[in-house]
């Protein structure tokens, strides 16, 4: 379990990084926390010819609020979310989500943007990014572009990101106090890859659901919003019947993967439970 040979670059600026990526990004990999990449390399399942270390690009070490959005820079570690980074439902949701990511040491190293770049179907941050329609900002030598969280994820470890691009930041919409957000995940052990998870956010106006975001992760080859379930919630009073109905719809709508830890049938059933519980948690706030 030692990696195959690779070259190692540690640029200090975004410009230097994108220049390197333009030259040899095709058979290289950007390394941030390395919590997914290094094990894969040690198993020799990944054999990048080059590693581009983003950790020295200090201009990417930020977490700030800019016009209604939370901007998460590429060096922001999972552990940054152990405490609420912003007042209101979003900060609360991210705290809730963060504690499900791996274990404490992993959260000290792994990064939010790294998870989004890696696109593991069971990644919590990817589920958040897809559900809340994050802006995923990428830079290359050709300039900057912004991808939408709902379209960005293409499949297992597969995204719209191009080899010459670096994710510089991910932007999440702040949720004002009319929103209620909840998260529920089930895994075999604490910190394991989720067998199913649900991210739920409801905007409540005069006792009715005015808007809804409901996303499932860990079940299909990529996280995604379940719009049928959202539609069923919008306009309804968020009572137990409405929540159960949305959970049923979510469960029916997914097309689950199968692995040694869970069959597709079981994953589908789990989606009902995780969705109902995420919605209940949202409402309870």
């Amino acid at each position: 379990m030692k990696p195959a040979p690779f070259k190692f670059y540690a640029p200090a600026t975004i410009d230097a990084m994108v220049e390197l990526l333009a030259k040899c990004g095709d058979d290289g990999k950007i390394i941030a926390g390395g919590q997914s990449l290094i094990p894969t390399m040690n198993f020799r399942l990944a054999r990048p010819a080059s590693l581009f270390d983003v950790n020295g690009v200090s201009e990417l070490d930020f977490l700030r609020i800019v016009s209604g959005r939370l901007h998460i820079g590429a060096l922001t570690r999972h552990a940054a979310f152990h405490r609420s980074v912003v007042d209101g439902p979003l900060g609360h949701l991210l705290t809730e989500v963060a504690r499900h990511i791996g274990h404490y040491p992993i959260r000290q190293r792994g990064t939010f943007c790294g998870s989004v770049a890696h696109s593991d179907p069971a990644s919590e941050w990817c589920a958040v990014a897809a559900t809340l329609e994050a802006d995923i900002v990428a830079r290359s030598h050709a300039g900057e572009r912004v991808m939408k969280g709902g379209e960005y994820f293409l499949g297992i470890f597969s995204t719209q990101l191009r080899p010459e691009e670096l994710i510089t930041e991910v932007r999440l919409p702040l949720l004002d106090d009319s929103w209620r957000a909840g998260f529920y995940e089930f895994s075999r052990r604490a910190g394991d890859f989720a067998l199913a998870m649900t991210v739920a956010a409801l905007r409540i106006e005069s006792g009715r659901v005015a808007d809804a975001r409901l996303g499932i992760g860990g079940v299909e080859d990529r996280p995604r919003r379940i719009r049928e379930a959202e539609a069923a919630l919008i306009g309804a009073a968020p009572d137990s019947r409405a929540l159960a109905q949305a959970a049923d719809i979510a469960s029916r709508s997914v097309n689950p993967l199968e692995d040694p830890h869970a069959t597709a049938v079981y994953r589908r059933d789990l989606v009902r439970t995780t969705t109902l519980r995420a919605l209940e948690r949202a409402i309870a706030r």
């Binding site: 379990m1 990696p3 040979p5 089930f186 052990r189 394991d192 890859f193 040694p260 079981y266 789990l270």
Partner: protein, 788 residues
């Protein structure tokens, strides 16, 4: 704590003397060992389950950067002809009284004719560093002629099955029957019977430190030194001497700090012997560190037994007879012969009185990693069978599971209790001491009482929560022979030096033996020097396996010390001009009883004992103060425990939460309560892993599905419940100090206790869990099936 003078150290929670070096990062594992000019070995392992090896092409690997040496099993077999069979030592009495057959094919150092499981080593690459060795290992090309994989032990017994070891004409490597009474007659007349298939799945030790071996050859002395992360240094030395054609005096094996063994390091692996061979062949030290992927697919697995068990009982819950047929999936090789199924057979009846019993056991070869002992070594399976049957009987009769147990438990007044079948060592099983009903009472009391629990369970159910209480009761033969020895020596300066072939893996043996020796010699533990896990410190050793080291080594220290004390007293009497019978040991001195002023120190006696012109030994007393004694236990001594667990089952997920975990344990005299608690707790956590998480799962092609720690799930801190540990001390009648074995116990009962608890929680659904592991999906499906 008073460590200034000896007021008795046995029974005190003295901090571990090992911890200073371990906590300061001064421990040394094989991976910390760097020898001058050391090279690094990597093994090329089979990617297929069953195949004939047609050829191995090493040419590209040999030409790769930094490569110093490459060799295939085919080449090695020409240099060191493989032994085909060697039967693991079996007691003569067992052999002569139990009808059996046993084949014990000898695993080659490197596979040369066939590969028999994914992960079997077929070639070795030696390079300047581990990275280069792995790069080159990828370039070795093995041409396989595929054979049908054998993965199901029952199918493996059919006449049309492919054979792993063709020369036997069968895949059944072990078969025996044993029992007592008249089982058929008891079943024929029984008011009630029930029969179930009970399956205990395959999992393993998975210690934090994987295996590792380093070896160096000294051309001047024609000698090799082997550093191995092993539990059995003397066995490694013995085998290496045979393989290398060296006298044992020219082979030294030592284990450094070992990061867990639990049985997986308790026998000889090919790598232990290939490394010294390489060191001599290449003329430079060579090291191999097993990585986790190799460990999961090449270090021995355990458990994996199918039982068809049948029980006859009356309407009061009294057991009339038990009949069991077990099939152990023993994987590709059978490293310890009848060891595991033998253990299972001996332990099925547990703490219960059963007049009629029969067991038929078979171990069947399949294309999987060999099945070898892991903490409990066959007892988990026995206990799962018996304890599930107990709960099934209770349900059939509408009785409390605890009441059915009580109806059948051996009473304290019946000790010592003759079970009526022989142990693996051939001796009749006699439970030497204990109070089983008391242990059960204490366990129930510790979970808050049975009635209170049932009330809480009913209330929870009315709110849709499913609580369950499960019991797991076991007895365990510990301190098994054939022997372990100790050399006790008075050092110049008066310290007591103890050497033994026991091989610690984290148990705290240096501390334990210093406590025991301090009490025998009336000195402080700090005045005891303990040397272990090194063939240089004692001629013969058996090793640390099977809950036996404290039992056997403490007894050996006791007898060797007793003999040495007589000599010390003879010399001291000569010095003090008194009779030896008037002397006593006190605070590191030999004193005349009643006149403490008249005394000599152990240092004085040691000086007086030395050979030379000025010795002060009386006539007829030899020079030197050193005694070696090899303790050969008459038979095993019986520890036992009750585990009581309360679970909270989330039926919407299938998740099992362990709400309370109680262990009531009896291992005789406890030397160090803190370490005893640690042993029980650590074992229990491993048992929880087996019950709920850990699983070696193979597909129909014999490929391992759980080949990394992302899929092979070890319990972590967040899966560990809060424990309540209670001890009962029933001293052993067989050991001088009254101690019994302890190391394995904790791991034995959790699968049974947790299975019973989950069944109890889900009683309203009428579901049964007679197979492990109990995974969320299985629970979810079982409940769903009943609900819909």
């Amino acid at each position: 704590m008073d460590l200034q003078s000896n007021t008795g150290y046995i029974g005190r929670s003295i901090p571990r003397r090992e911890d200073k070096r371990l906590l300061l990062g001064q421990g040394q594992y094989i991976a910390d060992l760097t020898l001058p000019g050391m090279l690094h070995a990597v093994f090329v392992r089979s990617t297929v389950a069953h195949a004939r090896i047609k050829s191995v092409d090493l040419s590209r690997a040999a030409a790769a950067p930094g490569v110093r040496f490459v060799m295939s099993g085919i080449e090695l077999a020409k240099e060191l002809p493989p032994e085909l069979e060697r039967v693991h030592p079996l007691s003569r009495v067992w052999r002569e009284t139990i009808p059996h057959k046993i084949f014990q094919p000898r695993e080659p150092l490197l596979a040369w004719d066939k590969v028999r499981h994914v992960g079997e080593a077929v070639a070795v690459v030696v390079a300047d560093n581990h990275y280069l060795a792995e790069d080159a290992a990828e370039l070795v090309e093995v041409d396989y002629e595929l054979l049908p994989p054998v993965v199901d032990p029952e199918a493996a017994m059919r006449p049309d099955s492919a054979l792993l070891h063709e020369r036997y004409g069968t895949n059944v490597l072990v078969e025996f029957s044993m029992g007592k009474g008249d089982v058929d007659k008891a079943f024929a007349g029984a008011p009630r019977t029930l029969k179930r298939r009970i399956y205990h799945h395959r999992y393993g030790a998975v210690p934090m430190e994987c295996r590792g071996v380093a070896a160096a050859y000294d051309a001047r002395a024609d000698a090799v030194t082997i550093w191995s992360s092993t539990q059995v240094v003397h066995r490694v030395r013995g085998e290496a001497a045979i393989i290398l054609g060296l006298p044992e005096a020219r082979v030294r094996c030592l284990a450094l700090d070992v990061g867990g063994g639990f049985g997986v390091k308790c026998h000889i692996y090919g790598e232990d012997l290939v490394l010294p061979y390489l060191a001599r062949r290449i003329g430079r030290p060579v090291r191999w560190i097993e990585d986790r992927r190799e460990h999961l697919q090449a270090a021995c697995h355990s458990r994996d037994q199918i039982h068809d068990a049948e029980i006859a009982f009356d309407n009061t819950g009294k057991i009339l007879a038990l009949r069991d047929a077990l099939i152990m999936d023993c994987g590709a090789w059978n490293p310890i012969g009848i060891g595991i199924p033998g253990n299972t057979a001996c332990h099925i009846m547990g703490p219960y009185k059963i007049d009629n019993f029969s067991v038929h056991a078979r171990a069947v070869a399949t294309n999987k990693v060999p099945n070898a002992p892991y903490r409990g070594a066959g007892r988990q399976e026995a206990v799962l069978v018996m304890e599930r049957l107990m709960d099934l009987m209770a349900r059939e009769l509408g009785m409390e599971p605890a009441a059915v147990r009580r109806r059948n438990l051996i009473a304290a007044a019946e000790m010592p209790y003759s079970v009526g079948i022989p142990y693996r060592d051939g001796q009749p099983i006699v439970y030497d001491s204990g109070d089983y009903p008391l242990a059960l009472d204490k366990a129930l009391e510790a979970v808050g009482g049975l009635d209170a629990f049932r009330l809480r369970q009913r209330e929870a159910r009315s709110k849709g929560r499913h609580l369950g209480l499960g019991l797991g009761f076991y007895v365990e033969g510990t301190g098994v022979g054939p022997f372990e020895g100790a050399t006790v020596r008075i050092e110049p300066g008066g310290k007591i030096s103890v050497g033994s072939g026991a091989c610690p893996q984290g148990q705290g043996m240096e501390t334990i033996y210093s406590q025991i020796t301090a009490d025998i010699w009336k000195v402080k533990p700090d005045d005891v020097v303990v040397s272990l896990a090194d063939t240089a410190v004692i001629s013969m050793g058996f090793g640390t396996i099977a809950s036996r080291s404290t039992v056997n080594v403490s007894s050996a220290i006791h007898v060797a010390s007793e003999r040495l004390r007589k000599k010390v007293f003879a010399i001291a009497a000569n010095m003090l001009e008194c009779a030896a019978a008037d002397l006593e040991l006190r605070d590191g001195r030999v004193s005349v009883v009643g006149s403490p002023g008249a005394s000599v120190s152990l240092a004085d006696v040691e000086r007086a004992s030395r050979p030379g012109w000025n010795h002060q030994r009386p006539e007829g007393v030899d020079a030197g103060l050193e005694e070696t004694y090899y303790w050969e236990p008459p038979t095993v001594t019986w520890s036992y425990a009750v585990h009581a667990v309360v679970v909270d089952v989330d039926v919407e997920l299938g998740h099992v939460k362990l709400e309370q975990y109680v262990v009531v344990h009896d291992c005789g005299v406890v030397v160090n309560p803190m370490l005893a608690d640690g042993q029980v707790m650590g074992g229990t956590v491993q048992g929880i892993g087996g019950a709920l998480f850990e699983e070696y799962s193979y597909d129909a092609e014999g490929q391992l599905h759980t080949g990394s720690l992302a899929d092979y799930l070890i319990p972590t801190a967040s899966d560990v419940p809060s424990f309540k540990l209670l001890h009962i001390e029933s001293p052993s009648r067989l050991t001088p100090l009254g101690v019994k074995g302890l190391g394995e116990g904790g791991a034995i009962a959790p699968p049974a206790a947790i299975a019973n608890a989950v069944c109890d929680a889900l009683a309203p659904f009428g579901v049964e869990f007679n197979a492990t592991p109990i995974k969320p999906e299985n629970i979810f499906r079982a409940v769903r099936r009943v609900a819909s």
